[in-house]
């Protein structure tokens, strides 16, 4: 089966397109810098962590055409290991996050070796199966604290000097982490490596016939995606000072699919917008109790039926239609 229909077709980008994206990126970070004036920083940090998570996920679905239904395993496991290393071994926050990222990458390498040999639905199912096993491990392992999770993870000074107890200070740290992760993805997508990935997405047999070692490319993309998902999870553990089973459960994998779908698969900013929309919704609809599930499901249905390109994808398409008309 092919997955071409999933994503908005994006050919090689012109320099001006790249510049436009950089400007948009600068605007996004600018908004991020001033946002805490009006919005609660912990909420913003949550949005940033999930935005990074969704961007990492989007690297696979949007640019390689692989739907992973088990990305929570990287996010959750990294949250656990970074939380544990900071709490029990006294790691500093930057080391804890690096350690979580590294664990995400290693897990990505191991699971990637198994998963990338499959495609389409089977790829989704293998990743789901693997993530269920990681979930089971996290449930049983002693260090994760069962369903209580790892609580009260301390926020030690960053690099030994910057006090991150204060939410506002830590917010800017998280914003920096997010920006770094986002730039890595942007750079990857726009590099020759990224072009090969897109070629694989569009037509794998042709990419093979051109002499590309497709599996290597896929594996590398998978590991990168896993590492960044791990970075997001590790950061989240420090933000909430908590790592729990929620982060590693299959519903979390479903949620990141929803974010990316709503924002726009295969668009560089889509996952960020999607994550912001979904997290905001969850936060502000919490008062509706039972209806949250119904509303979330309804959004899924509406997006799939009417706005398959997602928010950013639809805006881009509208822009291009206008441009061609004019």
């Amino acid at each position: 089966m092919s997955t071409t229909a999933v994503t908005a077709a994006t050919g090689p980008k012109s320099e001006s397109a790249k510049n436009r994206e950089l400007i948009a990126f600068a605007v996004m970070i600018g908004i991020g810098l001033v946002a805490p004036i009006a919005i609660y920083p912990v909420f913003l940090m949550k949005v940033l962590c999930f935005a990074l998570f969704a961007c990492a996920f989007n690297l696979l679905i949007g640019y390689v055409g692989l739907l992973s239904f088990g990305h929570a395993m990287f996010f959750g496991l990294a949250a656990y290991v970074s939380g544990y290393s900071v709490k029990a071994w006294g790691f500093s926050p930057e080391l804890g996050i690096l350690y979580g990222t590294a664990c995400g990458a290693v897990l990505g390498l191991v699971t990637g070796l198994l998963a990338i040999r499959r495609q389409g639905i089977y790829f989704a199912m293998v990743t789901l199966a693997l993530s269920q096993m990681v979930f089971f491990y996290c449930l049983q392992a002693k260090f994760t604290g069962g369903e209580d999770g790892i609580q009260a993870i301390p926020r030690r000074p960053l690099f030994g000097i910057i006090n991150i107890q204060n939410d506002l200070t830590f917010y800017y740290v998280v914003l920096a982490i997010f920006a770094a992760g986002f730039l890595v993805i942007w750079r990857t997508v726009n590099s020759p490596f990224g072009q090969v990935l897109k070629a694989i997405r569009e037509n794998e047999p042709r990419a093979i016939s051109l002499g590309y070692r497709v599996d290597h490319y896929k594996l590398l993309a998978f590991v990168l995606s896993a590492a960044l998902a791990g970075m997001a999870g590790a950061t989240k553990a420090l933000v909430f000072q908590l790592a729990s089973l929620t982060d590693v459960a299959w519903q979390m994998s479903g949620e990141v699919v929803l974010m990316t779908l709503v924002g726009g698969m295969g668009t560089i900013f889509g996952p960020v917008i999607g994550a912001a929309v979904i997290i905001t919704m969850q936060n502000y609809l919490a008062g509706f109790g039972e209806w949250v599930l119904v509303i979330q499901g309804f959004i899924f249905v509406v997006v799939v039926l009417a706005f398959r390109k997602g928010i950013v994808g639809e805006i881009q398409a509208w822009w291009e239609r206008r441009a061609t008309k004019a």
Binding site: Y40, V42, F240, A286
Partner: protein
């Protein structure tokens, strides 16, 4: 419906009139946090919000010049959602006290954040005895029940009536493990023995395989160290597989009236368990239940609802006496200093580790023929006096308690 409630609260707040200058931002804001739609929604859920509002109303806060506002949120039984809401409540929404919080893992997280922000946490819903043990804080009061009290009440009573050998069906998560551990200790201390246990994946639907293992163990008592849907399913299937007919008895370690309602008396009859409160025990309780039922679509209140009511009343008393709600630890200290007294839990005290001390009851589920009215499910067999109902202060390892 909710929206209407919200309007009503707002109206009540406005009617309260002049602000008391001593209160932080002039309003005492009570945040009810629980499971609004999941597994424990019927145990507290929207009814818990109602109970808190009812307490504010009955206390006559408005007449006493206190401005009180009640807000609520759904923690979906997830510690990260709960802690997220708690931080936002404390930092942004100026909430002064969080009440309820069933699900031990969430409660432990709230416990921590409340201490960090120096607010107040009144736990009516959570089960874990760690809240007054290693995790105890000067900002938390654990109100209604805990795993130790349940294990002690039910375990002891059953061993005393001859149930000497036990087999546990334990939900495989921290709460289940704690319940098994506490019950095992009680059983062994009273001369019984535990012949085996099986850890069941949580949440589970099919317990027949584990029940068969319990049957094979030939234990007299099958202890159910689980909660909610797991308990309901295991009791239902035990009756189907003839466990009770085969001469073994079931002991539900954590059960609520709502569980009995879901099981039906035919299946649940004869079960023994421990509870902190029963709606049909006296006239005060019945009156509360009547109002509750009228406002909550015919459902009846559980001990958690009553605990929310009772804890909010006592909190308001302490705040009124202090004339300030700003310093959480001070409010809790005041709460510990004053004896508790309200129409649902009667007289009691709060111990220095934050444990609210009150009587517990050993109850038995009625036979279908004995039930005369809706929700007429339980007979109180024994009152366990407060002094014996809860874990002795010295055994809890609470850092607040000085070792003598």
């Amino acid at each position: 419906m909710r929206f209407k409630n919200l309007l009503a609260t707002t109206a009540a707040v406005l009617a309260a009139g002049a602000a008391n200058a001593q209160m932080s931002d002039g309003v005492i804001k009570i945040g009810v946090m629980n499971d609004q739609s999941g597994l424990y929604a019927d145990v507290s859920g929207p009814g818990g919000t109602w109970a808190a509002k009812k307490a504010v109303e009955d206390y006559g806060a408005a007449a006493k010049g206190l401005k009180v506002e009640v807000v609520f949120a759904d923690h979906q039984n997830k510690p990260d959602i709960g802690s997220n809401v708690a931080r936002q409540w404390y930092d942004v929404d100026k909430v002064d006290v969080i009440v309820d919080v069933p699900t031990s893992s969430v409660a432990l997280a709230i416990n921590q954040i409340t201490k960090e922000k120096n607010k107040v946490f009144l736990g009516s819903g959570p089960a874990t005895a760690d809240l007054t043990g290693p995790a105890c804080t000067p900002n938390t009061v654990h109100w209604t029940y805990d795993t130790w009290a349940l294990a002690n009440g039910t375990g002891k009573a059953i061993v005393e009536t001859g149930g000497k050998s036990w087999f546990f069906l334990t939900a495989d998560y921290a709460f289940g493990h704690a319940l098994e551990r506490d019950t095992k200790a009680v059983v062994e201390a009273n001369g019984g023995k535990v012949v085996g246990a099986v850890r069941t994946p949580f949440p589970g639907t099919d317990f027949s395989s584990f029940l068969l293992q319990a049957q094979a163990s030939k234990a007299q008592i099958v202890g159910l160290a689980n909660a909610g849907g797991d308990t309901i399913n295991s009791i239902k299937q035990a009756s189907e597989f003839g466990i009770v007919e085969g001469g073994q008895k079931l002991a539900g370690m954590l059960m609520f009236d709502t569980d009995i309602h879901a099981l039906g008396l035919k299946t649940a009859q004869g079960l023994n368990f421990t509870t902190a409160w029963y709606w049909d025990a006296n006239d005060n309780n019945r009156a509360f239940a009547k109002d509750f039922s009228a406002a909550n679509g015919g459902k009846y209140p559980t001990m958690v609802h009553a605990g929310i009511y009772s804890s909010v009343i006592h909190y308001l008393k302490a705040v009124e006496a202090l004339k300030s709600d700003a310093d959480g630890a001070k409010v809790v200290a005041k709460m510990k200093e004053m004896p508790t007294d309200d129409k649902l839990f009667g007289k009691g005290t709060i111990r220095e580790d934050g444990r609210h001390m009150h009587d517990m009851y050993l109850v038995e589920v009625k036979k279908p023929a004995e039930s005369k009215k809706p929700w007429d499910y339980l007979t109180i067999k024994k009152t366990i006096p407060a002094a014996q109902a809860f874990r002795p202060l010295a055994d809890g390892n609470c850092p607040l308690v000085k070792k003598s």
